[in-house]
């Protein structure tokens, strides 16, 4: 691939929630802005735009990242999953349902980031990735609150719904959804 000059736009195909989208964007457009402003997938939120709050969390090839600190052009070969790809209002993802059941939010601004992050986090847990809380946790069917808090620390909630967020994730993890 040759240089794309600063005054040229970049033709680009992004695969989001299983659908390929063709875009023509400035190279400066972040993955977050591509999703929200160009593809109208506004479920992913912008809180800080600097990697500090987690509202923009999406899954890239199954791994959670902050979409605000990544350029759209860096994701041509990737499979991106946003909150819109996890469930719909008529068919909630079981983790979304758990958030509703436990009141895992107040304003809801951080929620899509919390949910995408928790999906990625539980995959990491199942893969046996360690954390600062346990520093050496292995695969397990259940995860405790201390582990959830540490592993979810990249998702801030301005309404401080933390106790219910932890409860929602705990319920979902204990249920069959987490074993899928």
């Amino acid at each position: 691939m040759p240089w794309i000059e600063a005054d040229e736009s970049v033709p680009l195909t992004l695969s989001v929630n299983g659908v390929s989208h063709h875009l023509d964007v400035d190279a400066r457009v972040t993955l977050l802005d591509a999703l929200r402003e160009h593809l109208q997938l506004t479920g992913t939120k912008k809180g800080c735009d600097h990697g500090q709050c987690g509202a923009c969390t999406v899954l890239v090839n199954g791994r959670r990242i902050n979409s605000c600190l990544s350029l759209a052009v860096m994701h041509r070969a990737d499979e991106i999953t946003t909150i819109e790809g996890l469930g719909t209002p008529d068919a909630l993802h079981p983790l979304q349902a758990a958030f509703v059941e436990t009141d895992g939010f107040q304003c809801g601004y951080c929620t899509s980031g919390q949910i995408c992050s928790a999906i990625g986090m539980l995959d990491e847990w199942r893969a046996g990735w360690p954390s600062h809380a346990g520093a050496g946790a292995g695969p397990a069917r259940t995860i405790d609150a201390a582990e959830i808090r540490e592993r979810m620390s990249g998702n801030l909630c301005r309404c401080a719904a933390y106790p219910r967020i932890v409860e929602a994730i705990t319920r979902y993890a204990a249920g069959e959804g987490a074993e899928a």
Binding site: M1, P2, W3, I4, E5, A6, D7, V10, D26, A27, R28, T30, D49, H50, G51, G54, T57, R63, R64, I65, N66, L69, S70, L71, V73, M74, S117, G120, M121, E124, A127, G128, W129, P130, S131, H132, A135, G136, R149, E150, R151, M152, S153, G154, N155
Partner: protein, 329 residues
Amino acid sequence: MIAFDYIRPGDAAEALQAAAERPGARFIAGGTNLLDLMKLGIERPRHLVDIGGLDLRTVSETPDGGLRIGALVSNAELAAHPLVRDRYPVLSQAILAGASGQLRNKATTGGNLLQRTRCYYFYDPASPCNKREPGSGCAALGGFNRIMAILGTSAHCIASHPSDMAVAMRALDARVETRLPEGTTGDRKLDTLYRLPGTTPHIEHTLAPGELITAVLLPPPVPGRHHYRKVRDRASYAFALVSVAAVVAVEDGRITQAALAFGGIGTMPWRDRAAEELLVGATPGQDLFERCADAVLARAQGHGGNDFKIPLLRRTLVACLTDLTEDAR
């Protein structure tokens, strides 16, 4: 963010050629530090070489029994790698004590080493900062300097180095493997990757323009217990106020091996070999650990807001050494 030309080469040779072609070009790996700073106009590269497509994502054993870590291995993968957890646990612990799950998935080994300071004045284009704008002055010296360094500072800059990973790598005697535009390779100790601020705080490392980090090399593991202890303002997702990476072995009541490195206190990931030598051969105990802290802190200088780091580092080091040697005494 200013506009930039962009290229995503398929291999290292192409990346080196691209960077050499356009002077001032910068590599972008995870982007979690560079993009943050570009959005604020603090970093203003005109040419970006995206190295995300390069084949530098493997961790492998070296013939001498050490470890070769590709520059693009993510911080998360590295911390979870079985060989790292088993043989170099201090490295896994240090990485897991930093940033967040999302950031560690994106952040890379090379990018982590070269991340820039979190000094508030460096981050604020309205303030003077010799690192951001050489010759403009240092607002941290007379300003809020709670997070700044107490060692390795100069009259021109007191910004601390923020990496946790690099602190553990210094304790482990890591080396940095590079490739240069001319096609040659470089190999240097991590100790010599960083530069003290002196009169040129904007020059932070010894890499040549266009020099690409390809891997970090760890020597074979040394026997001993490992521990990374980090003190910060909240329990998770915060940079270190002070941190200690320690690998210590005790045999027959005497310390036989000690490697100590420090985060949060230095203008670069800090190591003090004189303090280590003091430990080797001696019987572990409070007195000895206090003398070790004296040695580390001999030249420490507070700037008002960060004076507390001097006693905090002392206590953290003594606690860490006590933990590591307790049942061996």
